[in-house]
Structure formats: C-alpha cells, structure tokens
Symmetry: C2
C-alpha cells in the first residue's frame, strides 16, 4: 500500500536490521485518519470472505482492529488478553505467544463464549514478524472450531519468516506494507506489482 510505505519511509525509523519503529503513527501515537485508510484497504482485500469477527491481541492491534470493524459492517472485535484479569472468571481458550519486541512468553486468552464454530475470523495486528502472535490467535479460533479466513498486519517484516510459516500452514496472509529487508539504514518494500 503506497500511502503506508511512504509514511513508513517518512516517519518510521529502523533500529538496526530487524526493528521498525512506527510509534509516531501506529503503536504509541495513533494517526486515526491513516487507520481509516488502512481499514478501508483491509476491507478491499478481505471483504469478499464473509468475515463475521475480527480478532487481535492486546495492545497495539486494538486500535486498528476497532477502526477496521467499521468497514466490515461493525462485526464484533475480540482482543486476546495476555494476562488473566480477575474479571475473567469463566473458561477461556489459551495459546502461548512469544513477543519479539519484549522478549517474553505469555498466554493469549479469549473467553470461550466469544469464539464459536460458525466464526469466520479476520486476524489483524500492527506488526507481523515471526508470526508468533498470529499463530497463537489462529490456534484460539481453531480450538473453538471456527475458521481463520485471513491474516493482515499493517506492517509485515517478511524477512523474519512469519508470513512464510503461516502460508505453509495454509493461511491466507495479506499485509498492507511488506518489508523485505532493512540494510544500511534503508527499508526495502515488496513490489506490489509482483
């Protein structure tokens, strides 16, 4: 997505060869006008799949998931929790998720009553790197007998292998901006015409 690639070049910052810092518009300060354009684009790419639920994981996926739901006829958004609040008193589905940026492993949890066999789920997140969070969310959906219709990250770091693994496992992955490498301070995007 050209608009997004340009924004990454303008306001993103590479930290070494692995990390893109996008906190001025994506995951600390949020540019909601941009999010609306991203949500519309996700609808263009996934709108034909009969999606009836959008799933994400706290925290940075929540804003983009909420805005995206507006373009999917206000389907419910569910975000997986990484800790168990004392208000989560009922049974939940759980899956381990390793955080690349925080270096921790947590259990992603969704209360069983919010996932069902008839769910056709779109998974949305801010970043897709090693694919740990997305794989965990897929597991939660499938534990409930539901269907993962697609996975879309705002920024995919293809070179870290998550999207390849997810595709090998049979999932449809289509991210808005796909970064193929970061080298000598330069960010390389996948050619969208490929």
């Amino acid at each position: 997505m050209q608009l997004l690639n340009q924004r990454i070049l303008k306001d993103g910052m590479e930290l070494g060869t692995e990390i893109i810092k996008a906190d001025s518009f994506l995951n600390h300060q949020l540019d909601i006008g941009l999010f609306m354009a991203l949500g519309k684009e996700i609808q263009c790419r996934f709108g034909h799949l009969g999606i009836n639920k959008i799933l994400t994981i706290e925290s940075s996926g929540i804003g983009i998931a909420a805005i995206t739901a507006m373009y999917f006829d206000l389907v419910p958004v569910v975000f997986a929790k990484k800790t168990q609040p004392n208000t989560m008193t009922e049974e939940f589905y759980g899956a381990p998720v390793k955080s690349f940026t925080k270096g921790t492993v947590s259990i992603a949890r969704i209360a069983k009553k919010y996932l069902h066999p008839e769910d056709r789920v779109l998974i949305v997140d801010d970043f897709l790197a090693h694919g740990e969070a997305a794989a965990g969310l897929c597991s939660l959906v499938e534990q409930a007998g539901g269907t993962v219709c697609g996975i879309s990250a705002v920024i995919e770091k293809e070179f870290q292998g998550g999207s390849t693994k997810l595709r090998q496992a049979g999932y449809y992955v289509n991210s808005l901006s796909v970064i193929t490498k970061i080298e000598n301070g330069k960010i390389y995007f996948k050619d969208e015409t490929e």
Copy 2:
C-alpha cells in the same frame, strides 16, 4: 447516557459489590457500533474545549479512544504503555499506576516527543474506579506542561471515589455511565437529570 445504562443492565454482570464485568461489549469483545455512539456523546460533552489530543492507557482504553478521535477531527491518540518495549529508546514521562482489577502497580509511560506544553488533552478510558490510571495520565500531561481539559470514562464506579478525588484536584470529570452502588445484585445509576 441511557443507551449505555441499558446495555450495562442487559449485558453487564456484577461480580460482588465492586466489579462490573462488561467484557461482552467494552473490554474483551468490542461493540464498535456502540463505541461510535459513545464517541459521539463524548464529543457532545467535551467538543467545546479545544481538545487537540486524546490520551488513554493500554489496553482497554485504546478502542474507545481510537473511535472517539474520529469525532474530534482526527486528533492524535496516544496510549500510555505499562511496560517498556525495546523500541522505546528515547526519554519518556512516567507515573506509577495501580490496577484495581489486576492488583499490580506499573509505570505508565509516554515518550516525551508525544506530549507538549501546547497540548489540550482529553483522557478517555473504559472504567474509572479508584482513579489511579486517570491520575497517572494527568501527571504525564502535566510533566510535559500540557493541559488536562477533561476526563471521561465509559463506566464510572462513583462509589469507589476516583471521580471525587479527581474533581477535588481540579479536573473536569464527565463519564458516560455513572454507577452509584451495586447492592444485592442490582446496579444503581446516577440520575442524569440531577
């Protein structure tokens, strides 16, 4: 707000006399159509104050803050982080925040470059109980020399004293649903005509 009070009576659940479980529409599964109505209402109540930034804290405030920003001419949303990700490499403002539902104390952090003296900030969150999170966010704004124009929670549990403390400290608090007590499994709302 009548629509919201009715929704709390229909889908909320009281756990004892202190906790309202609103995870079917507010902080685990999100009803984005409802969020749009809430965002519009927040604009009605705070739209005259020249607000140029919306602040919240991860995770449950992010969805409502993102949707609300649409009704405030797409002002930036900033959410405070409770842990320090390895991408937060610059200086930040910090304030300790106790979580009522999780029983933990964390440091709410916002990178210094996202708060400024000219900021006129609206603080938005899902719940206002003891007021710890809101007070922490106020501190962050004031460390930057900015102005807290108002505080709005979707659900305020007035009986836990947070709003009283914040008002005594001089802040304008106006929450969408104000619960005065929970007794014998019944939820009591503040009369909006008072």
